[in-house]
């Protein structure tokens, strides 16, 4: 008996292929740009969420008429805006707000999209047909305009309502993707076997099919996060994101719509713009590395 056990253990060790997470880790370590991006992202998050605990939001957004439009100095690291507010403080709070919204919207669209796509793809046939027609309709809506109209007519909105409005019109992409994968997945033997054994559809969908799609979901959601941060800052830029008392990165950029600010007061909008660009680039880098890791054909080593 004992010898048998040892043999089994040894045998399984030899043929064991690297686990998913190991491959992901290896891929990221090999891709120096992605590794750097990941470290940068984690650092930004720690700095932003850490310091925003220490910073007093009210103090930062308080209008101070004696220090309007001051260039960067010792007192104000990145100068002040037209209300005499410290740009550096707003940058920290803004990054926190933008990141929070981005993550919240990504998670919510992910949850809706995954469930919707799984149900449509797994059941197929008429259910799929009806669900896809509904999805098609959402997809042809002019997203930006509808969201702007909603933001304009919802009288009082918070981070949550704003994310809900964005989520309502952004879940279609991931749902479509999951559906197409679920359609392929349900034809595979393990699903058929489970069905024959009498496992309930619900259990097959969420405990068997879903884990098999997890790598795809993680990749898509990472890439979506970058897109959502861009969308949120774009909406704030147009003036339909958050009010000025809760600054986001887009709010800071929106001050540049004043030609005077755009031309002479770079310290108000350039740091926020660079931060948005760098954030989106690094999230994309990580996303691309993850994508390569999950697709054996694209793997680098």
């Amino acid at each position: 008996m004992e010898t048998n056990k040892i043999d089994l253990g040894k045998g399984s060790e030899i043929v064991k292929s690297p686990s998913g997470w190991k491959i992901v880790g290896r891929e990221i370590m090999r891709d120096k740009v992605a590794l750097f991006s990941l470290i940068f992202l984690i650092a930004i998050m720690i700095i932003v969420y850490g310091t925003s605990l220490l910073l007093d939001v009210r103090e930062i957004v308080k209008v101070d008429l004696f220090s309007i439009h001051q260039p960067p100095s010792e007192e104000f690291l990145l100068g002040t805006d037209y209300g005499g507010r410290d740009v550096f403080g707003q940058l920290i709070i803004g990054t926190r707000n933008s990141l929070s919204i981005g993550i919240l919207v990504t998670l919510m669209t992910g949850a809706i999209g995954i469930i919707y796509g799984l149900v449509a793809g797994y059941f197929g046939g008429t259910v799929d047909n009806i669900m896809m027609r509904i999805l098609d309709f959402f997809q042809v809506l002019p997203f930006l305009m509808i969201v702007i109209v909603f933001v304009a007519i919802v009288p009082k909105y918070s981070i949550l309502t704003f994310s809900l409005i964005m989520t309502a019109f952004l879940w279609m992409g991931i749902a479509r993707l999951i559906r197409s994968k679920a359609l392929q997945e349900k034809e595979l033997d393990y699903v058929q076997a489970s069905k024959t054994l009498g496992t309930s559809n619900f259990k097959i969908m969420f405990t068997q099919v879903l884990p098999n799609l997890s790598s795809l979901i993680i990749v898509t959601m990472t890439l979506n996060l970058a897109a959502n941060i861009g969308l949120e800052s774009g909406l704030s830029f147009l003036g339909f994101g958050f009010p000025e008392s809760t600054p986001s990165l887009g709010t800071l950029v929106s001050y540049a719509r004043n030609p005077q600010t755009l031309e002479f007061r770079w310290w108000v909008w350039v740091p926020a713009s660079v931060l948005i660009l760098v954030l989106m680039l690094s999230i994309n880098n990580v996303g691309q590395a993850l994508k390569r890791a999950t697709d054996a054909r694209q793997r680098r080593g």
Partner: protein, 320 residues
């Protein structure tokens, strides 16, 4: 071909109806109604109530909805509260500006995408390809509004090469050569800013498509027959790779709609996107609803166009 197109158009009809219902409900949710745009708010409330009854604003929603749809079909979109003129007239003025801007953007998009995509795909892994891939990588991540702001900052304010707002120099008579040139001059920077960002996905797609086609058997056959390199590329590969790009034309239009809101806002260009934002800020809701409806229909038409072109290009889609 015809069967597919007709079926595709049939799908479109419920979409348009649903869209109109949503837009109508949005209009109902907005504060104020068709009457607010017509009369002075200081008039006696009793008269307003009478007027409301007369205009049928107290009827059930479906009756109001059918009346509104009938109005839309006859070109009556209501009255603008701020500009004191019919919405259809107002929209028509702006739609022309937006149309030319979008057309120029589209032309520039393809003018940039095709040479870059071909160079990048044909000489892949050369330094030129690396340069182009680098550009698409950054362009893919860069938000349109930040890029446009930077363009305006550098070329509009810093170097002063381009005007920083408006659609034409004041004081020119419409129709003259100078007028047209001035219009073009004002459109160039906004259109270029938008094109440089929207073109990125087309370049990426064209590149991978060419690299893909390059390794196919029929290219090997063409080479074996002794076809010259330029013939292989121009006649065999391009024909196969450019067709899918043509199919994206419709989606490109829907993308332009979202982008035009940012671009027109940043460059102060008097088009529909700018009108939309201003109307929202001025609470001029009859204009807002008409514009949402119009943009929605344009989006639906854009998708329809792409689907039909795709079915022409790729027959596999038709058999479904």
């Amino acid at each position: 071909m015809w069967k597919f197109s007709i079926r595709r158009i049939m799908i479109m009809i419920p979409q348009v109806i649903l869209l109109s219902i949503i837009v109508f409900m949005l209009a109902k949710m907005m504060p104020g109604d068709a009457l607010t745009g017509l009369i002075d708010p200081n008039v006696d409330p009793n008269t307003i109530a009478e007027k409301r009854e007369e205009l049928g604003l107290n009827d059930p929603w479906y009756e109001q909805y059918t009346r509104w749809v009938a109005g839309v079909f006859t070109g009556d979109l209501g009255q603008s509260f701020h500009f004191k003129m019919p919405v259809s007239e107002l929209v028509w003025q702006r739609i022309v500006n937006s149309f030319w801007l979008s057309l120029l953007t589209l032309v520039l998009t393809y003018l940039i995408a095709i040479p870059l995509g071909i160079t990048s795909g044909r000489y892949n892994d050369s330094w030129a390809d690396r340069l182009i891939t680098g550009y698409t990588y950054i362009g893919f991540a860069a938000p349109l509004f930040i890029f446009a702001l930077v363009m305006l900052w550098i070329f509009g304010f810093h170097l002063g090469w381009f005007p920083t707002g408006g659609s034409v120099k004041p004081g020119l008579t419409p129709g003259t050569f100078e007028y047209v040139m001035s219009k073009l001059y004002h459109m160039l920077l906004p259109a270029l800013s938008m094109a440089l960002i929207t073109t990125v996905s087309t370049v990426q797609y064209l590149r991978s498509e060419i690299i893909d086609t390059k390794q196919k058997d029929f290219i090997l056959t063409a080479r074996a027959k002794g076809a010259s390199e330029s013939r292989v590329y121009n006649r065999h590969i391009l024909r196969n790779s450019l067709l899918p790009i043509a199919a994206f034309f419709g989606y490109e239009i829907t993308g332009l709609i979202g982008g035009s809101i940012f671009i027109e806002n940043i460059f102060g260009y008097p088009g529909m996107g700018q009108l939309f934002l201003n109307s929202i800020l001025l609470r001029d809701y009859s204009v807002v609803t008409s514009l949402v409806l119009l943009f929605g229909i344009l989006t639906i038409l854009g998708t329809l166009l792409s689907d039909i072109i795709l079915s022409l290009v790729d027959p596999r889609i038709r058999i479904k």
